[in-house]
Each structure stands twice: as structure tokens, then as C-alpha cells.
Subunit: 347 residues, 2 copies
């Protein structure tokens, strides 16, 4: 078992191991003294892992209740959140009980936000079941829901009491959802770790499995280091947003339907690299992106994407901050007026 | 002008002065560098003070937008919250902008929660316009909305950048809403300050005005001291809940319609005093409560109220914690099993 300890406003462990899911109850028991556990999950994940997780938690001595909502990003909304609140309320969940987020990013984000706000805050455990959630949402304490006006516009910073990553569950992901996670994995190589990038680049979607546990642990460690230096996202942490300013615009332009987050980030990285890197670096990045069945461009014209960058909540008034990696493994924060950014990107 | 500085996770000032409302724009300007200010208020307060506040903020150089919702506790719900979020989103409010909560407890609670969660947190200023909001919500950083299942069940801890209390605005309160605030004012005397209690007790609703600025400042100072010792409400801060365990039950039993918060707390204090105080103390408390047109009892049978105490979110599993003041000015935290509490109260 790999263990990564995160020192945020509270300290917690991320545990990574094949098959760890079936022992999650005892792991949780070591961390907290709750009476009841409310498992929050979506219908897809519930069908696959609801039973094994419920059984393990029950056998560890907790009372278990479960709330299941329809899978997909459209569920990450205020309606689902209010349904979760009402469910917790009806089941008399108290401040000393605990939520378990069993699922991908949507489940983790909305459950984390519920845990941050129900009764003004209670414990929660994350069991991320997608590659994206394991490498991205498991560290950082960012929780959120979407609004009609944009993604992740409402949220809170909330650290879990522990994160349990079972790499076995990644085998049940569709190729598309696996690729989705690889977008972020490649990003970690780009912003911080040329060696990690090379390891990813020498593999492809078929061969990566043997190195996957190491890769996940490395990604999590990078994110841990960045987040520890800037828990509340006021500076350095911005570098995690490489590919995201344009990526979010792409997701938004296509109404979160055509491109997954990882695909949009992959395109965002490639577009930014084309503006700022040597041709050789652009080629390397694009080749790596393609090896994981991710796109390097989108049909939408840059003129249509740029105005949507303004919807990113990192935009401080008329200034836009975004990330540039001139070389693989090294990220810089750039600040530009929104108008200059438009002219530059469209040139 | 009286100034009380609160040292919470962030430091901020509470400013108390007659007529301060018309200069609020410049006060806010000294504190923050926002571009836009979104004023959140209800229709009653907007009619009275919307213009003067808007003008002052605009003249201080901010862009101003305003969201007005129907007055009353029923507005403190998820629907209003989502409408506020959508409004902020449509008006392109960014993280570096600022919200202003102009109104009573409902406005302060929901606006504070919106500020805690929109874009994962932004600045807000409180301008409490009721006595209750000035002495209670202005310190402590508790923000919340209600659920169908209970009051304040969803919320966050969020400190304002400053609080502006204009005692002139209290003159436009109905006698009922003024009394509502007096419930909490009496509570401060009971839990911490026998001298304050005597000052309140020697006055009544008609004569209190000359001492009001001092009384408000004393109440706020008491709450400040208690909250500073326990910002996240894990111990000592519980004493602020004197009268509230039964008070919340009364509010809930009557569906938040018959008894105001202050009235319910007044009854809660009297009921608890009858169980724990010398007859002389009970008499003093009841006489003071009556002088401010607050009730000392409710028709509901104690047997019907006690089960509703379990809905209080301070209830840690099967244990109930509640506050006892055996003498005026001194509060103790008691813990009892829920069953023992039922038997004791019903005896």
C-alpha cells in the first residue's frame, strides 16, 4: 500500500492499493468515531461497488444509509445537493457522523460540498473511483457544484478525513473515462515533472497499467506539494490550472457534452503550447496526448472560445491569469488584461 | 462611534453609531478594493434603506447591483440561495468583488452563506438592520439557510470584512421585532453579565432607548469574547445557546409562525430557569422578559416540545448538551442523555 500524507488545515492520508475497497470500513473506523455513515454515490458506481463498500462499512460496526443519484455532470447541481441535504436530515445524520463519497469527480465534489455545509461541516471520506478523481479531486479540498451559468461556481474548501484509492476499480472504467483522467495525468508531467512526462509518453493506453500505481502516486504527490504551499488557492496553486483556462472554455462552449474535462484540458494544453513552446515540445505533447486517445484541437474557432475564458472564476476583475509551460516540467503564472489575452490568442 | 474589533480567523471591526448608514460606502472603501458591490436585501428593508445605502456605495466609487427577495424566514431557503447565486453569476461578480448583507438575520445568514460559497468564498459586509441581527448575527461568523427538516441546518463559518450597525434604523422596527431582539439581549445578561442584566431590567421597551447604544455594544463584546475563545463552536461557545434548545423546539413546534426567535428564546430561558434557579431569580428573569413584551411560557405541553429538542444540530448522537444559568450572569454547559433530559424536563 502506498500512503501519501497531506498536511492541509487538517492532516489526512491518501491510501493507494489494489483491492483496498473491500477493507474500507476498517480503514474508516481507524480514522473516526462516527455512529452512522451516509454513503453518497451515483447509480453507475452503486451498481458496481455499492454492495462491497456498504458491506465493509457495516461489518466495521457503523450504521449505513445510502443516497444514490443519477450519474453524470448534470447531477452536480443545486437540486441534487438539496436532495442530499434532505436525505441527511431525514436520516438524522449528526455532526459527529460521516459521509462517504463513493464515485468520480461529480460524487466527490457534491458530497464534499454537502459535508462542508451540512450542519456547518461534518467529516467525509473520499473513495474516488475514476482515474481523474484519484489524481485530481483526492487532494486539494476543493468541493463544488455547478450553476446554470458555469461549472464549479459554488463551493467550499473542505479536507476529507482520508482518501481511499483502489486502482482495481479503474479496470471497470470505459476507455473514454480512463482517457479523461489521462488529460490531468499528462498535465502533472507538464507542470512539474519531466521524468513523469517521459514515463507517460513512453507508454500508451494499453501499456500504462504496469506503471499506473506509481504514476497515480506521483501525480498525487505533485498535487499535494503544490496544494500544501497554497491551500486556499491564492497563488502558486494556479499552476494546476495549466490547460484549464481554455479547457473550461471548451467544455462550456460544447455545453459539457462533447468533450470530457480531460479532453478539454488536453486541447487547452496543446493550444497554449503552440503559443509558447518550441515546435519539438509541442510535438512531444501532442504525441503523448494522442497516445491516450485525447484530442489536440477542437473545431471551434479560437474567437469563440476566448470570450468564455472570462467566465473562469480565477479571473480577477478585468485581469486574466493563466499558466504557461515553456518547457516540459516547468510552469509559470502569467497575468494579462483580458483584452490583451484575446488579441494574443487570436493572433 | 463605538468600535469593537473581533479577532477571529480574520480580524474585523464592528462599528456602532447613529446615522452611520449614510456613510457606509466610504467605510467599505477603506476596507476592501472591490470593483463591484452586490447588495442583497429584502423588500421591506429595501423600501426603507435601499436608496441611502446604494447611493453611499455608488458615491464611494463602486459599481452597485442589488438583489431583493421577499422578507421573512421562509425566504431563508435553498431556492432564494440559488436565485442569489444565479444573480451574482449573471452580473459577473468575481472573487475580488464584495457582497453587502443589508437587513435582519435572514438577509445576513443567507448572504453570508452565499459569500462563503460563491466562487468558494468572497468578501461580504454586514449591515444588520434589526436589534437581533446587531447583537447576535454581527459576531460569530455563523451563516446558514433552513431546510424543510429544520432551521439553520446548512451553513458555513464566514467572517465579514466589517459590520456596520446604525442604531437609528432600530426606530423603524415594529415593537414585535424590537422585542424579538430583546430576547437575545436579556440572554447576554443572563449568561455573562449581571450588571448588564440589571441595566436591562431597570428599563422597559419605552425607556431603553437612552441606554441602547451601550447595551448593544456590551452584548456584542460579550459575544465577541465567547466566540474568540471558540470560533468553530466546539465548546464554550455553546453558552450562547442558553434558552435555545427549548427555544428552537418552540419555534419548530409552531412552524416558525407563532413565536419569533427572541420570544421562543425568552420562553426557553424561563422554562430552564424554573428547573434550575432559586424562585427569586426566576421572578427577576420573568419580570424582565415581560417588560419587553416577551412571553414567559407557551401553551404547548413540555412533552410535545422535548422530542423536538433532538432536532437541534448541537445534539451529538444520543447525548444532548444544553445551558443552565443557576444565577444571573453565569452559564454552565450540561450534558445529558436525551432520555434523561426528557424525563427531567417532564418531571
Amino acid at each position: 500500500m502506498k500512503k501519501i500524507t497531506v498536511h492541509a488545515s487538517t492532516e489526512y492520508d491518501i491510501l493507494i492499493e489494489k483491492g483496498i475497497l473491500s477493507t474500507c470500513g476498517n480503514i474508516i473506523k481507524e480514522k473516526i468515531s462516527a455512529q452512522k455513515i451516509a454513503v453518497i454515490t451515483d447509480d453507475t458506481v452503486d451498481r458496481l461497488y455499492g454492495k462491497v463498500v456498504g458491506k465493509s462499512i457495516r461489518e466495521a460496526g457503523f450504521d449505513v444509509v445510502k443516497f444514490v443519484f443519477p450519474h453524470g455532470e448534470t447531477s452536480k447541481c443545486a437540486d441534487t445537493l438539496v436532495n442530499i441535504y434532505d436525505f441527511l436530515c431525514k436520516n438524522s445524520i449528526t455532526r459527529t457522523d460521516c459521509l462517504v463519497a463513493l464515485g468520480g469527480g461529480v460524487v466527490g465534489d457534491i458530497t464534499g460540498f454537502a459535508a462542508a455545509t451540512f450542519l456547518r461541516g461534518m467529516n467525509f471520506v473520499q473513495i474516488p473511483t475514476t482515474l481523474l478523481a484519484q489524481v485530481d479531486s483526492s487532494v486539494g479540498g476543493k468541493t463544488a457544484i455547478d450553476l446554470k451559468g458555469g461549472k464549479n461556481l459554488v463551493g467550499a474548501f473542505k479536507q476529507p478525513v482520508c482518501v481511499i484509492c483502489d486502482t482495481d476499480v479503474l479496470k471497470t472504467l470505459t476507455p473514454e473515462i480512463f482517457s479523461d483522467g489521462m488529460g490531468e495525468v499528462i498535465k502533472y508531467g507538464m507542470i512539474r515533472d519531466a521524468k513523469l512526462f517521459e514515463l507517460i509518453a513512453k507508454n500508451d493506453q494499453k501499456t500504462i497499467w504496469t506503471d499506473l500505481e506509481d504514476i497515480i502516486a506521483t501525480c498525487i504527490s505533485i498535487k499535494r506539494d503544490v496544494v500544501e504551499a497554497d491551500e486556499f488557492d491564492t497563488g502558486e496553486r494556479m499552476i494546476l490550472n495549466y490547460g484549464h483556462t481554455l479547457g473550461h472554455a471548451i467544455e462550456s462552449y460544447y455545453h459539457y457534452e462533447t468533450y470530457s474535462h480531460g479532453s478539454a484540458v488536453a486541447v487547452g494544453m496543446c493550444m497554449m503550447a503552440e503559443k509558447t513552446c518550441e515546435p519539438e515540445t509541442v510535438k512531444k505533447l501532442k504525441s503523448c496526448v494522442k497516445a491516450y486517445n485525447l484530442p489536440t484541437s477542437v473545431p471551434a474557432d479560437i474567437k469563440e472560445l476566448v470570450p468564455l475564458c472570462g467566465k473562469d472564476k480565477k479571473r480577477a476583475a478585468s485581469q486574466l491569469r493563466f499558466i504557461v509551460c515553456k518547457t516540459i516540467g516547468k510552469a509559470e503564472i502569467h497575468t494579462m488584461s483580458f483584452d490583451s489575452f484575446s488579441i494574443w490568442m487570436e493572433s
